[in-house]
Amino acid sequence: MSTWKQRRDPLFRGDGEGGVQLPTPGADPSVVRHILYLDGPGRPTPYVSTTESRDVAEGFAKGGRVYQTRVPDWAPHGVVHLSRKELLSNLRGVGKGRARWPSAQQVMTARRYVEEAAEHLADFSGVVSEDLRGVVDAVFPPGRR
């Protein structure tokens, strides 16, 4: 697999037919909590997970569809890119920055999941638009597969 490049390569996300799930910009920004899916379905998170691999995204679509996005399109909407490289750099020991977490076992498990899925995060923490659906659809265009 060639090295993923931000300017050249898209990211993918498997989600429902009706659009990518809405994040919650003001929610707990812990990266480990997000990656480990702690607190389960319906929990608020400021992140949307994506992957370098279309195959991985298809595996998660489960009856929905795969959305394609490009990182250079995110900044105008206030969406920040947390790359796989950055995530892996922070997911060590008890974590660093937003990946700091009380449990090293959970930090390492989150790291394993990031590696397996070639995961990147779209961070909506700084998004202030009242039209969140519009921002999400602009970042993950429903027409781009």
Partner: protein
Amino acid sequence: MHGTQLVSCSNCWFNGLQYGTVGLSMGYCAEYKVVLRRADESTCGKHVRKDLMLTDALAQQTRHQRHFERLDGVQVLHTRHPVENGAYLEADSSMLRRDAVGDAAADYGELGSKIESLAVLKAQKSFRGDLAMLSLGRAYVRRCRTRQGRWTSGLHMFRWTRQRLESDPRPELGPEDLRVQTAASLERQVELAQWGLVMLRLVFISDLGSHAIEDGDPVSSLANLAEEAAAESGALTIKKLANWVKGEGLKRIDAALSEARIKALAAELHEPRD
């Protein structure tokens, strides 16, 4: 990215046949005794995550039950509807029984005692056999505790797991053991799976340590063993974790529970009761 899969049947300790990328294409729920045909897409209120240590797994179970209330059967993950057709479940386990680990898992609780089924899994000396033993073993000890049992209900599994940590520090797996391909290279996928199984062994021993806290037993010093391993072993490689187990982990295990005490406790367990 793993998201909902982590709260699905594929990551539940009642399903010993799958864990992350490892396992058969179908799972088996030892609680409801059904074959799980789409384990990544089903769940229920009894779900307990096997990728978390005991305290966190039980805390997450409580939250999970707020969303998935059903305690008498499997639900579809995305709709919460009860599973009512064969697309998700199969009562007939004959297909599963063509696989040695699947056969043993399907026998769990059916023949003799559950500990006998766990012993059969242990005797297979395979990656998936160990996975099933550890996964179902966690559920077994927890169930015993809720029925006023002591941590020693996991004594034999403790001994087997300690032996495996020493004799099989880098468990081997083959192509037949992988149920999905990941974005990582195959070599790295295998290494991450190995790390996951060794960590699961440490989590199992940590579980016993947690159970021993209430009993006031010195084994309680092992309650954070998996946490210590993750914090002290450094990079996420099987070599680093195996080195930590060899250099530190086994010493801490033996300091908390010697072979002599294991034998004494085992003799106690087998004493006839009034």
